[in-house]
Symmetry: C2
Subunit: 304 residues, 2 copies
């Protein structure tokens, strides 16, 4: 059985929808905690225009700070989300180690999110992905609204698989499927990933589930059963997508890591700093978050 | 594939730990809504001593009210939890249709919950179960702390299976496993139920998961995959066990029914009354509940 990687995306997918902007120093402290906790990949932010998502205005600076000698710890890979050529240019100079980018499988979602059709967005993203790879960087391409769309309802699996085929043909074989609207069910997840892996050899898959309807953990479990080896999670369950109608939180990092611990799959990721960080995030945002483990605490030692 | 039954237990397992006692009239209104929504079994309450759990003091009266001509709708079975002979006597005269009862697989939990050893509690419960069955009633026997214990930590699967064997030998083949402390993982759930079904033919299984660590839905999914056909859920996610150290909510009824809808497994249970009821429970208790679907609303119609 392959080891499951944890890709923390809360500081990007979580914070982008918060009204409150998190100051740079606090983001850095949170990032350092995540690095020390031993998650595998950390998404630092996205390269969008600062007027569009002001919460992400400090992404370049965060990468520069983390690249400073004495700050950058060995271990987790630092990822950044790019939406266009300009974002890639910014990311290439500030120290992004893994570029994430995606297209939506829903025409309406694609238009609202990017102003482009799926076809147009796909050509663009493939060009950016190929350029990032040629620059020696890791690349992950994702299909958003892969399991359904808040605007359009059902999304045909064949459309999702068609997009993945395009990516694979372009040599982009690190694929993530995102359940932007939270419509996925574990049954559907299993079927779609199973078909996806049949597209070709050497495909590595990630998953990204929103917990809008309470199914994120069950979906992640099903994805792992189907062969997914990287799971995108968000500290305290932060998140959701501001461009869909209903914004549910993400699969919660410390809850998922707790699961990996309990099953003996990843005992090397430290629970305590994650739990403390989730509590700090909740305190900073001034509300109870959706994560369960930070409220319950870790399972007590036997006989305690 | 067998149809999955929904056994609503919120009014028992949920309300027993609330400080606030819910007035009889409100309980009746909630019960009527659940009956109309079309869940399969509804646990009305437990037959404990009123001084021990005052929230359950009206259980007999609730059953009597619901048995009145014109009130009792055809459809859902009404279940009640009994802990001892006296409870069975009460339940037999007030209209209980399905008797639920259980023993803990953890010595410490058993002692704290019942003042008896596992062995002693098992003999007693089997005697009560057999008597209920001989009275022509349906009986479900459960093993509590079947997946781990808040006091003792790991619970050996062999101990759980040993208890189930005792039940089956006594002709009690409707078995529920309860994750009282919320320690279960989907992987463990799959293995334990698979072994359980090997004990004999004609065994029917239910599951009961607490969401203490965010795994209730994933565990229920795994249980259904393993052949479980009855899932115990709680409206709005009400609940948890007051006799374990950490009290997490139960698997949420409307979230699980949403899952059954989305997968086409049970489109006959009505979502809207369940969502409205969850909102009413949250309003009555004056706090946000753990259920997700009542907050998000049902998935909008395509193109809406």
């Amino acid at each position: 059985m392959k080891s499951i990687l944890v890709h923390e995306v809360g500081l990007r997918d979580g914070l982008q929808m918060e009204r409150q902007t998190v100051p740079l120093e606090r983001k850095l402290a949170w990032l350092r905690t995540l690095m020390d906790a031993g998650v595998d990949v950390i998404q630092v932010g996205s390269f969008v225009h600062p007027t569009k998502v002001p919460q992400m205005a400090d992404t370049d600076q965060l990468f520069r700070e983390l690249s400073q000698p004495g700050v950058r710890r060995p271990g987790p890979l630092l990822s950044g989300l790019v939406l266009n050529e300009k974002g890639l240019d910014r990311g290439l100079v500030c120290g992004v180690e893994m570029f994430c980018m995606g297209v939506s499988a829903s025409e309406t979602h694609s238009q609202k999110n990017t102003g482009m059709s799926i076809a147009e967005a796909t050509d663009r993203i493939i060009a950016i992905g190929v350029r990032a790879r040629e620059s020696g960087k890791r690349v992950q391409v994702s299909v958003q609204s892969a399991f359904g769309c808040g605007y359009e309802g059902e999304v045909p699996p064949e459309r999702v698989l068609g997009l993945v085929r395009r990516f694979v043909e372009a040599g982009l074989t690190n694929i993530s499927l995102a359940d932007t609207a939270g419509h996925a069910t574990p049954d559907q997840v299993k079927v779609l990933y199973t078909e996806l892996f049949r597209i070709g050899d050497g495909i590595e898959c990630a998953c990204h589930f929103h917990n809008t309807y309470g199914l994120a953990m069950a979906n992640a479990y099903a994805a792992v059963q189907a062969g997914v080896t990287s799971v995108e999670t968000s500290i305290a369950g932060l998140g959701g997508c501001p461009f869909t109608k209903i914004a549910g939180g993400n699969l919660c990092t410390e809850d998922f890591v707790h699961y990996l611990h309990q099953t003996g799959q990843r005992e090397d990721i430290h629970m305590k700093p994650l739990i403390d960080l989730a509590a700090d995030v909740a305190a900073f945002l001034g509300r109870e978050m959706s994560g369960m483990v930070y409220r319950a605490g870790p399972i007590p030692e036997t006989g305690a």
